[in-house]
Subunit: 304 residues, 2 copies
């Protein structure tokens, strides 16, 4: 086991012993104890202030999204390994005993189920774009949303959960509006997280595109500076952990969902997202398990 | 179409036109517009006040729970038709093209997926019980949690979503403590919802147990008064809609998960839950689509 893997495993044990996180028995799926819930609520309040100042409209989507949406956006081409598809028992009473026998044998129930119309949301902003079809107001549009997202990557890393919350803001408008909005958030996000005592690096980044074909997508994304991340050295300086991302989609979603600016062009869109559990884990790792003993400036900022 | 079905369909159209709810194209899966998000946040704040006064500890679980938990609690015996099971693509690049072909044909992907260790949470409190294993403090335990739950029952009824939030409180302790706590919440919950201008009925109720064997379970639950519901006549007086439930589990969960009181007996547990979307839909139905024109006493209560 590498030093880093040991560090992750040991810190996870500490988080569980202190009931900061609660074990469910599944890797990457944890309950949140009261301290963890409180820290996330306070970080959210700090993000609230920035989102409100920008004038973002609060909307919300459930943690499942239409399966047809993933097809439309090409998600299964780029990230098939991360998707959680939802299946249900739609047979009648006649097949129920056989299903139960399989359930009680702790076997695989797949053959008794059919695929539903929904999958787990992989990001907060996907279901928003289809609702923007048409022509945007003169100044474009700006939304604030938060959602439990799912990515199937079981791991012992406390900062890589399978089910986690992303607080996102989404901007749609002209290329200039969208780019300057993203640039402002990169600064404001950095300032916010630095005020919590985290040491940060801003870096150009890419998404975990699947397979060999994905390598080209990654290179392209990096070359065009479409994605930036704020990273914190939670486990090591060599492999810091991304806690926020700033993503410019150009006309991608506007083409897919027919979204136009007031001047008739395809809109550009961007989203910024904070990984709330990753930020909380970074804070507990850096400042300790007892929030009562966190540095006074950090406490002042979170609990003013 | 019955009058009631027409009323539901027409009101759903009104909610979508006013962007109180946002269509995703899947029945029972909706985005929440800013007014709906705000109403739910304000109702939550009113529940916060009662939970805090009781001294409940805030915890949180993600919208997926271990599949083994449903097996352990017998969920698939009682409610197999409601469960959402999560499946993922775990094959390598070789099977990816065939998966994509199926995805793009809008076919069923099941044969390319394997069942994961998680299912969608059917209620907020299930994952809490295993974390209580052992001996409770002298006064028992009390928790406050909120979660997106999933029940596979596609419907055009705005008050019957597939993915919806339940705000729950859970009490574990002696039979007396648990019963008197549930009785207090029945009164407080009723007072809270009446102060929002809703007309309520409190009634003994049962869960939607599956199949013919389920009829006996329902009768037993009713005879022992294990479940009460607060109901609002959203669509009709004849079939009012449950917006809150008050459930006494006796020793059921304590037996399953070895939870004991300080005096060594198996603990009793109860949970109370508010259906947040149902409360919001009832408010929009009763007071109108524009919250700015809701009755002044209701506005004062929600936005003091």
């Amino acid at each position: 086991m590498t030093d880093e893997a040991t560090a992750k495993r040991d810190f996870m044990r500490n988080l569980l012993e202190a009931r900061v996180l609660l074990s469910t028995g599944v890797r990457g799926v944890y309950g949140r104890g009261s301290a963890f819930v409180d820290v996330i609520a306070r970080v959210q309040a700090l993000i609230d202030a920035i989102s409100s100042r920008h004038g973002a409209e609060r909307v919300s989507f459930p943690p499942v999204v239409p399966r047809a949406l993933l097809q439309r956006t090409g998600y299964m081409e780029s990230f098939p390994q991360l998707c959680g598809s939802v299946h249900a028992f739609t047979s009648g009473e006649r097949r129920h005993p056989a299903l139960l026998e399989r359930v009680n044998a702790a076997g695989d129930w797949t053959e008794f189920l059919t695929q539903t119309e929904v999958v787990l949301a992989p990001a907060a902003c996907y279901p928003l774009y289809p609702t923007l079809r048409g022509t945007l107001p003169e100044r474009g549009a700006l939304f604030d949303l938060c959602q439990f997202c799912f990515r199937h990557e079981p791991s012992d890393d406390p900062a890589r959960m399978q089910s986690f919350q992303i607080r996102e803001n989404v901007r749609a408008g002209t290329p200039d509006d969208v780019r300057s909005w993203r640039a402002a958030w990169m600064e404001e996000g950095r300032t916010l997280l630095e005020s919590l005592g985290l040491r940060l690096v801003l870096a150009s980044a890419s998404d975990p595109f699947f397979g060999r074909a994905g390598q080209l997508m990654k290179a392209n994304q990096q070359a065009q500076e479409l994605k930036f991340e704020l990273l914190v050295p939670v486990w090591s300086d060599a492999e810091p952990t991304a806690v926020a991302s700033f993503n410019y989609h150009q006309e991608h979603f506007a083409h897919l969902f027919d979204i136009h600016t007031a001047n008739g062009e395809h809109a550009h869109t961007a989203c910024i997202g904070f990984g709330l559990e990753r930020i909380a884990v970074a804070l507990f790792k850096h400042h300790g398990l007892d929030t009562g003993r966190w540095p006074e400036p950090v406490r002042q900022r979170l609990w003013p």
